[in-house]
């Protein structure tokens, strides 16, 4: 059996990690670098870097932030958000990404996936599919980070992107995203058992059990979670060392925008947290106890190029 990958996902706005609910109402939690470093040191198998607004505002991913994150980690980094062209992909890879995930631009122009696969290899090109469940249960592809309906059936689209040659699919349930109600297991299982490429399950992890279930019941090849890890590692009591004390949130630039109240007021507001925080080793232990195969060793230490 292959090892199930555990992948913290950083939703980025400006140079900060934010977290919303169903892709909306972002709160700032800290800097991208801070979380990347903590996740690498604590045994993350990969990191997903999702620019939350690039696509919506038709901007390019901020390469300086990608560079800063890439410098902190010696594990694979997948960058998503607003990727429009092979030139764009090249510049993101040059900034230190190992893979890119594409949603909006691929829906508009599926040939982009094929061109990108030809140029960079399928192992480098991930199809990001953000699906919304319609009232009758139909799964529909949405673009622009959950803002734009397309009418396209998500499963049919997944078969198409596999034909275009992508190496992986990052599958997000918009309905579950940020809710902490668990992954959409029915959707994940459908995709993961029918498609020949690995499926990364995204959206909805609220507890360790949810993550275990995505792999165990949903057959996901990789599981991605954000809130349960963000809230664990940004809490000094959990993380052992206060990450917040080691970083300047604002660095030298203006904060893009966004709600920093949550950050300024600290992490006492448990009522606002929809999830039960957990460490990465905590999740992996539970997965192993459930009979799943995972990479246990933490990479540890600091990886930085001066």
């Amino acid at each position: 059996m292959s090892n199930i990958r555990v992948i913290p996902r950083l939703d980025i706005k400006g140079h900060c990690v934010v977290k919303g609910i169903q892709f909306d109402g972002f709160r700032v939690l800290g800097t991208a670098e801070m979380f990347a470093e903590a996740y690498y040191a604590n045994g993350a198998d990969e990191i997903i870097y999702q620019d939350t607004v690039a696509s919506l505002y038709q901007r390019d991913v901020d390469l300086d932030v990608v560079r800063a994150v890439a410098r902190k980690v010696a594990i694979p980094l997948t960058v998503a958000g607003g990727i429009k062209s092979t030139a764009n992909i090249r510049s993101i890879l040059r900034a230190g990404a190992d893979k890119v995930a594409i949603n909006t631009a691929a829906v508009a122009e599926p040939k982009l996936l094929r061109d990108a696969v030809k140029m960079f290899g399928s192992q480098c090109i991930v199809s990001s599919i953000e699906a919304h469940r319609r009232p009758l249960g139909k799964l529909e592809v949405w673009t622009d980070f959950g803002r734009q309906s397309t009418g396209i059936d998500a499963f049919e689209w997944a078969k198409r992107v596999v034909d275009e040659g992508v190496g992986e699919i990052m599958l997000t349930s918009i309905d579950r995203e940020g809710s902490g109600r668990g992954y959409d297991l029915e959707m994940i299982s459908l995709f993961a058992t029918a498609l020949p490429v690995p499926i990364i399950a995204c959206g909805g992890a609220g507890t360790v059990a949810d993550v275990v279930n995505a792999a165990k019941l949903g057959s996901a090849d990789a599981v991605s979670a954000s809130s349960i890890f963000h809230h664990f590692y940004s809490d000094a009591q959990h993380a052992g060392v206060s990450l917040r004390g080691r970083y300047e949130l604002r660095l030298e630039s203006e904060l893009d925008s966004g709600n920093v109240d949550f950050l300024q007021k600290g992490y006492g507001g448990l009522r606002d947290i929809q999830v039960t925080p957990s460490s990465i080793p905590g999740v992996k232990r539970a997965m192993r106890e459930a009979g799943l195969s995972v990479r246990i060793e933490a990479t540890g230490g600091e990886y930085a190029v001066s």
């Binding site: 010696a74 694979p76 399928s122 990479r295």
Partner: protein, 217 residues
């Protein structure tokens, strides 16, 4: 401080920057280059690369780099091929037809075997962490004088591939990895030529240790 001059061969394929960054983080003076004089002037050579074999060979030939790499190899200085770069060291590949490689190590590149239909849950390409194990012929000390020196147990490294290397001389294989129906050579070393199928530059501390061993060879 250890700072050997390393040339990272740029032949238009894949992501070289993380290889450079990883090498620099452990003290190498690493330059990305497609200049044959610079390549021949280096103390160590790294051939990275992801993507298709034929594209890779074409990239080397178009830039006139196959000759300089062979010349570097003949000089006895250490060369490390990573992923596609490791595959290119071999004689032939069966990826989309038959293509000649650099032939620095005798062997053939073949595809991972597909799952037999019905219930088998593994995916191709292999994407993720998997273990390096000692080959059957080997004793516990095999890794002592190789790029795997100092690693213990069955260390996990990051794989991202569809094709695997099969060597004519099984004893050139210094680590094997199991995936699906295959138990394949994941690291090889033949005199000064080493190849590694997973990505040491993205394999955390284990990967950095492998690169460090290569610098110290």
């Amino acid at each position: 401080m250890l700072s050997p001059k390393v040339a990272i061969v740029d032949y238009g394929v894949g992501n070289l920057f993380n290889v450079q960054r990883a090498l620099e983080s452990i003290g190498a003076n690493a330059a990305i280059s497609s200049d044959s004089a610079e390549i021949l002037g280096a103390e160590r050579l790294v051939v990275p690369g992801v993507g298709a074999f034929a594209e890779g060979m074409k990239g080397l030939q178009e830039r006139g780099l196959a000759g300089p790499i062979r010349e570097f190899a003949a000089s006895g200085r250490p060369i490390l091929g990573i992923c596609l770069g490791a595959q290119l060291m071999l004689t032939h590949s069966e990826e989309h037809g038959t293509h000649a490689g650099l032939d620095l190590v005798k062997g053939l590149v073949v595809a991972l075997r597909q799952p037999v239909s019905g219930g088998e849950q593994y995916k191709i390409p292999q994407i993720g962490w998997n273990s390096l194990r000692l080959p059957d012929y080997a004793s516990g000390s095999l890794w002592d004088n190789t790029i795997l020196r100092g690693l213990t147990g069955e260390p996990s490294v990051y794989f991202l591939h569809t094709y695997i290397t099969t060597l004519h001389d099984p004893r050139a294989s210094i680590a094997v990895t199991e995936y699906g129906h295959d138990r394949f050579c994941s690291v090889f070393q033949s005199k000064n030529i080493s190849g590694i199928q997973p990505h040491p530059e993205r394999s955390g501390q284990v990967g950095l240790q492998i690169l460090k061993n290569f610098l110290e060879q």
